[in-house]
Symmetry: C2
């Protein structure tokens, strides 16, 4: 009989742009999100977990009549012809949820959400197609008190997760002020307004001088390419520059500068008044300019949002990939977007919110040594005699009942060296050994693996010489002695 041809083995790989998270990567994120949820909860926000899958129609970024509407999202067609997609953020689902459940939800509706989102984009270094977002939004509150509160909550959140005061700053700006500036300039041509908006968005990168050039004739960029300018005269461009550089020493000074920049534009003055109110409310709540500032140089998102815009930056320095010092930078952003629900219901519903960059904030906490330091491995009870597995199981049961992470080695126990290698790979703090002799004497051997590793690393053994790496204790003292070692580290 001919040998049956076997199907080739499947490849054991994640799809391109996806990854797995192991051990502390998972638990540290979960702990951070848990702390954040605690702050959000304290502020009166309720949890929401919407489904990961939405109709493409509800996500709203795509036309239902195109053949393959998965540009930017992961989408597929169901047998009943509906197109479904994985959510690409947590805001679009909030709009759908609020429109769907608005008769049952309180108004205002304060909700937080945390979970993965998916982007069908080209992956790159550190850029994955599945990542976590963590959002809080207030839907149905037109008052800037809602915006002020989001800023205060953001500052509290950063401190609760472990960013000390002084290492972060929340900056607040307002799209309406910019609109006022554009109005004052007499820019009524939409194309020119958009060009100015796009230019302002580059302020972070090119600075004041660069923006001046880009608003005027144009600019040679770093690569040597010439970027065409908006074509404004210096005088015309001045109000934009005044706006971007209007931050004063105090909120009051900034407000004065902004008033000058918007002239008698109604929307501009409205925006300035909002910033003033936000500063007052935050002051009343005890959030001074050491934590939250009015800063018109915040431009990220100004094109997207309709009112106040917020950004949280970490101000401590890190070394970039080329070894240069730079500020850690942005970890959260948000603002007011007042047309959230309108596409579903026809009614305008004001909303404001914040999104925390979960991975960046985790990276910051690692950078500051706030997470990732403690040994997380279990105590490993080794197996000297495979017929006495019951004895070893009893030991780990005792340890676990005392709250100590512990396990029996469950691989093939023949090679004792492999058991210690396993303990090493697990970053175990302690190994427990009980052979036939120990059993007879009623003792166990305790091996301090952290001390062992320290001795192996250090040039001089002197500082450790008084402490034994391995010692014998009565079986009855097992839990107490293990606890004693763990408490040292």
């Amino acid at each position: 009989m001919a040998k049956q041809k076997k199907a080739p083995r499947p490849k054991a790989i994640t799809p391109k742009g996806f990854r797995d998270y192991f051990g502390a990567e998972v638990t540290e994120r979960a702990e951070m999100l848990d702390k954040i949820a605690g702050v959000y909860h304290r502020y009166g926000f309720d949890a929401l977990e919407s489904s990961a899958v939405e109709t493409v129609e509800a996500l709203g970024k795509f036309l239902p009549d195109v053949d393959r509407p998965n540009d930017g999202v992961f989408a597929w067609q169901e047998e009943d012809n509906d197109w479904l997609a994985l959510r690409y953020d947590l805001t679009a689902p909030l709009a759908r949820v609020y429109a769907q459940h608005r008769n049952d939800l309180p108004l205002p509706y304060r909700r937080y959400a945390m979970g993965p989102v998916w982007r069908n984009e080209k992956p790159g270094p550190g850029r994955f197609r599945q990542f976590y977002q963590c959002d809080a939004d207030t839907v149905g509150a037109a008052s800037v008190a809602a915006d002020a509160e989001i800023c205060a909550m953001l500052a509290d959140t950063l401190e609760v997760v472990g960013i000390p005061r002084g290492d972060y700053i929340v900056r607040v700006n307002n799209r309406k002020v910019l609109n006022g500036v554009l109005e004052t300039m007499g820019l009524n041509d939409d194309g020119q307004r958009d060009a100015v908006l796009r230019t302002i968005d580059k302020f972070d990168k090119v600075g004041e001088a660069g923006v001046r050039e880009l608003l005027g004739k144009g600019r040679l960029d770093a690569s040597g390419a010439y970027i065409d300018g908006v074509g404004l005269s210096d005088d015309q461009a001045e109000p934009v520059i005044a706006f971007l550089t209007s931050r004063g020493d105090t909120a009051a000074q900034t407000v004065e500068n902004l008033k000058a920049a918007v002239g008698d534009s109604e929307i501009g003055l409205d925006g300035v008044a909002e910033l003033e109110q936000i500063a007052d409310l935050l002051g009343a709540g005890g959030y001074g300019p050491d934590r939250i500032v009015i800063d018109p140089s915040v431009v990220r998102g100004l094109g997207y949002y309709t009112g106040p815009v917020f950004e949280a930056e970490l101000t401590f320095e890190i070394l970039d990939e080329k070894g240069r010092k730079r500020q850690f930078g942005s970890v959260a952003g948000g603002g007011r977007y007042d047309d959230l629900v309108k596409r579903f219901t026809g009614q305008s519903v004001p909303a404001t919110g914040i999104s925390i960059g979960v991975d960046r904030l985790l990276a910051a906490l690692r950078e500051k040594g706030r997470i990732g330091s403690e040994a997380q491995g279990p105590v490993v009870v080794t197996v000297m005699d495979r017929d006495r597995m019951g004895d070893y199981q009893a030991m780990v049961a005792e340890l676990r009942q005392a709250g100590i992470r512990a396990e029996v080695y469950l691989g093939n126990p023949k090679n004792f060296g492999n058991q210690l290698k396993y303990a090493d790979k697990r970053q175990s703090p302690v190994a427990v050994i009980e052979g036939g002799d120990e059993k007879e004497k009623g003792v166990v051997q305790i091996k301090d693996l952290i001390l062992g590793a320290k001795i192996a690393q250090s040039a001089s053994h002197e500082e450790w010489q008084d402490r034994p790496q391995q010692f014998e204790v009565p079986r009855a003292d097992l839990v107490a002695k293990v606890r004693e070692i763990l408490d040292q580290y």
Copy 2:
């Protein structure tokens, strides 16, 4: 100019078979999973979060050459022609992860995973196409000590989340024993073996007499349809019945009965010996038959697993939809499946694990009153004077700093009744009121909303008459007085 035709509004609905989870539904599940993760961690298991998206090839349930391989899963084709799919469980991704990372992972690899999975199946009442699973598995441990440990961990887990001892039982069976029984019967025909396996799977539903009929000539089922039998004689069927009913008063007695049922079948005796070892190991760890029993009547999954099989049942009674008492039933199941990784690497890797039915366990905890009782709403500070928003924000800032969940009403404050309706909808325990008069006197009004609700519900007011629903306190005592009320409930 003709009016531009507008696109129709999108429908604000979840896709069929999906749902949203609000407030306590989210936090109660998160808290339960957190407690479970705590137990798994203590047992030495490490967290793993694999990507939600896998290649269809790696998931392995589907052929890569069919045009639309999304039978049972949500799948789509990428531009590079790869088919991707949402994971349908947490075991298939574990196999992929272990095969992919086996050179870096410890051996044995103990991992837990919790998260949503997706099934492209017809939804039904209480049956959703996205739901949570919570698994723990040990990969690379051939020893039944690994199985025993999974059972012990399952028992501990149930107690830690709030199922008291006596209200649950973990049952253990072994596929090898059944194989031995089939061997003894001389059933070498694969079709007949499969028919017997399928019949055994119905033992839960049809009982001993039903299985006897189904192994023999056949049976009239409840709907009046006649189900053909396997066609065995009574004598031939006897070993199967002996196996299913072999549970004795003690583990030792059960083991004796099983030995008789498998005769001299080597694999059968091997299976019995494994059950005996598991019982011994669990006994040594202090897990008696009040928590874990050897019970050959556990048949769910016997067709799928290759060795020991576990099931956790809750034994307290609930009323079913027709008002009849019945046991709550199964909340977790698992077993040994030794060919997990083979399809990727060609090497057999032993594995054993458990999966907890997250939604069923949550339902059980609600049934037992272990979750869902406490009021979770925030203290609501009402807005009597919208120009004094800063004063109100200062109040909530104080309350929050004292760890009390609190918020200012952020809707339109014009109608005070709406503010109290909002507090009611949020299940707020307390509302705080400070109008102009109170401000002048340096006091605030505190409204005990829980007491108010109790008075509204109770027929007689007498028991509450000494306690005021609303009272005035000095502004400086706000936090202390609110705390006092909260501590009463």
